[in-house]
């Protein structure tokens, strides 16, 4: 098959839609959150924001950005898109994608606070996070 036909075939495949079932009982987390966290090794602190811009059933999408201060005192800014799920009323599970690398966050929702841990697949970085609702 010629390369052009490959591209057309792949394009048609990508145009198909896929099924799914949203959770209507999910906690509402849409809004602005103050986001803080730590990184275990190498040690670093994280201070920033988490914005859940849309929530469609259990599916949440948004953006996040923060400032990361590492053990050398070097400050870096980072930010990316957020996508994930709110499972029921207490569990949240979302990815923040930073320059193509996903960092998975799993936490508990307690009123206006989300607490949990994160792990970055690929390089094994881990840490904890806390998001406190700033405004809905």
């Amino acid at each position: 098959m010629r390369p052009a036909r490959w591209l057309v075939t792949l394009g048609l495949l990508s145009a198909c839609t896929l099924p799914g079932e949203p959770d209507a009982n999910a906690a509402i987390v849409r809004g602005e959150w103050e986001f803080t966290g730590t990184q275990a090794a190498p040690q670093a602190t994280i201070t920033g924001y988490l914005t859940i811009q849309s929530q469609n059933g259990d599916l949440i999408t948004g953006t996040a950005g923060w400032e990361e201060r590492d053990g050398f005192g070097v400050v870096r800014s980072a930010g990316g898109t957020v996508s994930g799920r709110v499972i029921g009323e207490q569990d949240v599970d979302f990815d923040i994608t930073l320059d193509g690398v996903s960092r998975r966050h799993v936490g508990r929702i307690r009123a206006d606070t989300m607490d949990g841990s994160w792990v970055q697949f690929g390089d094994g970085r881990t840490g904890s996070f806390r998001a406190v609702r700033a405004r809905p």
Binding site: L13, S14, P22, A40, A41, F72, G73, T81, R108, F121
Partner: protein
Amino acid sequence: MTLSVTVRRAVAVLFGAAAMIAARAGALRLPTVVSEGVPRGLVTMIVPIPAELANAPEVTFEVRTLGGVEILGRLRGPARVAGAPSRPRVLTLRVPAGADAGMVDVAEVTFRDREGREFVVPLQLRVTVVRSLTVMGTLEMRALRAGDRLDLPYRIINAGNATDTVRIVVRGPLAWGTRLDRDATVIVGPRAQIAFAVSVGVPQAANIGDHTLAVSILSLTGREPIATVYTTLGITGRAGQVAGVVIRPSIALASTSSGTATFSGVEIAGPVRAGVSVRAQLTPAIARGGMTSQGLAAVGALSAPFAASIYGENWDVSAGNTSLQIADLTGVNVIGRGVTAHVEQPEFEARAIVGTPSSGSRDVSGELIGGGYWRNTGRGRVGGSVSYLRERGGFGAGRELRAVAADYRSPVIRTFTLGASLAHRSTVGGQGLGYAATIAHERPDQRASLRVAHAPGGTAAFARAEDEFQFEASRALSERWWVDASVQKTTDRGTVFAGMQANSWSLGQRFALRPDVALTLRGQASDFTVTSSGADIGDFGARDRSLVGGVEWRRGLLGVSAEGSYGDMTRRTELFSGALDEAIAAQRGLRLTASRAFERWGSLDLNSSIEQTGAGVGVPGTIQATGARWSEVPLGFGTRRASFTTELSLQRMGQQPTTLVTRALLRAALPAGLDLTVAAERNPFFRDAQGRPGWIGAVRLSAATRVYSPGQLGPEGLVFEDLDRDGKFDATEPGVAGVIVRRGDAKAVTDRHGRYRLPINARGRARIDQGSLKPGLVAHPLLASDQTERLDLPVLPTGSVLVEMELVADESGRLPDMSLEPAVVMLRDETGFEWVGRRVGPNLASFDGVPVGRYTLTFNFARVREPLRAEDQTVTVRPHTTTQVRAPLRARVIRVFTPPARRTGGPAR
């Protein structure tokens, strides 16, 4: 047809007609005889005996040459004797080798009879345009090293007889910096030559071997070179750094809607002696963070605590904030404040650290002490390491390790290498035996490696993981077909989770359909499981499986690839209720990338992707992303170096608004060694204190100063005023103070006696920074074409010349009426160098800063509406004065003729 119409037509049709008016008393001028010839050629001209003398019994002739033209044969004598028939005189003349293109008065032939009647026939030669341009210069430069900067001299030689305007085009190897020392458009007079130099910067990443630099000249409208010289540049190694420490203070400012932040710091780097260099940075912490710190980082203004290193080719010692990898089983990712040392020689390797841990914001205490020594022998590499590492405070439970390890790695046995390590590790969780084993096999067409490691305590005890299994293999099935496979399994505990397991495998192939087209196909899967360490969250995990196929196409500097994937993803989450939530969704994607490197316009990278994921796993249905980056686009600001990089990326995730990130970065070298970096960015992920995204602007200015010790400096040189213009220093000639002399990247300023010293290992030709010379001085022109390295550099005092062109009447009294704007005015010195005058008025041309001396004033009237003549003039330029010169210009004589009558009437044209 009236006479006036006839005259108009004659003037319009024939440029340079002749006069029939007597110019001398008693002599009648007849129509001019015109012939055409090339320089050095022989031209035969037939001069008829005037009709008025047709009945004269005896006629004599006399030829008077003009302008040094050589007439072959008799120049005077009887044209006709009594009774003989009337025959025209035939003259043969040699066109001078140096004849400019255009009309040249070559002679006058006077015919006389016995009664004293005289008739003068002017002879003119139309010299054919001969274009002969060539470029000459350095053909070969050997023993260069990556990182070198050099100036290569070239010259354009116009051996033709007309002024030409050409463009200089330099084509160097990709990513090499090349720069002309003058404008690319050059006017070269007839038989003149123009010298120029090409500055070449050999990149640090240049490959060892021969590279080609092509210097061409093109006409202003042409695409094909008129002439090209190819210079072979042979790279034999890396550049030795120029001795001397560079101190680079810098200041930066970032401005956003959150406010502004400033930065100041000093970087110190460079060799202090042969083989020993230092590097240090003093950059105080920035008070503000957020968007402003992002802006400062974009221009390279990174705030970091003090760190300094002294290092050589195979060793380094660092102090301040530092990090070290001691060994896999005795400590990796050891980061702290203290001192580290590392030596690696062919015979042995050693590493050591003494310090305390450091953290981002919280106080961390502890000790970081460790080291190792490994010796390379014919029987392999043998050694060991020991560590006492304790990191208390900070985040999590902290890290701790006391370990001692022994290592062995065999020499290559046929195609295999074996390695083994054994360690005793004492961690917070207890004591244990650590081990690592490797086996590697390598041949040109196949490669395989297996590694198994066990480090009790894992990342919580300064290891990469608690258990690791890695297998990688690749093999060429044919010259066009490669297959590869990998399996990885990692188990760890860390300080955040009770356990982490990661497993992955990959199996792929790459088949080259043609040398420039390849097909890839890969199956891959990964599985990640996290075991929670507390009640806050439960266990969670993920699994991805996909089949990826793609095609890659590359031709020259263009590469294009397309890749499609099909697979699924699974998410597992243990809920607060204890139930396990598991979702699986299909996933497919298409990615396109293209990259193109340009010889003169940097490189362009484009990418676009679309990914679709089924519902239930927390990923929006469709994610689209597009990006473009145009990087390192060279910009020309005179001879200064500057480059520009810009990029943008668009992303649309599900129903969310599209996010657009744009960045631009400009780097420019300014005069006086200053470097400027300007950045602008708009990034919706970075927000100000009010939560709004906005523009981030930043600028950084730095200045580099190199400091030398006396032992690093080479022999003393001198910049002197060359009073006798011979290019050589004479005892009576004074030195010139305050002149910047450069050689490669090194520079020196002359003292009050004109003396300077450059680093002993600076490479290239010493050259004078013209901008540092006082007004009224100029570098001697011979330096531009110097092939030799000289220490004593001559400069010449200069003066100015103002040339006023004036149209004057010719012998017939006719005053030409035309614009002199297109005339090119030139001064040519005794060595053939030419200066082209700057037009400062309709009839005025100015020469500023011309070295003192004697020049010949020359003109080129090729673009003037009517041919003109100018007498040769010598112009003497005196120091610091303006010499005014008046240049009378005369028209050539005009011959008017009446065309034959038309057969039919009609409107005159």
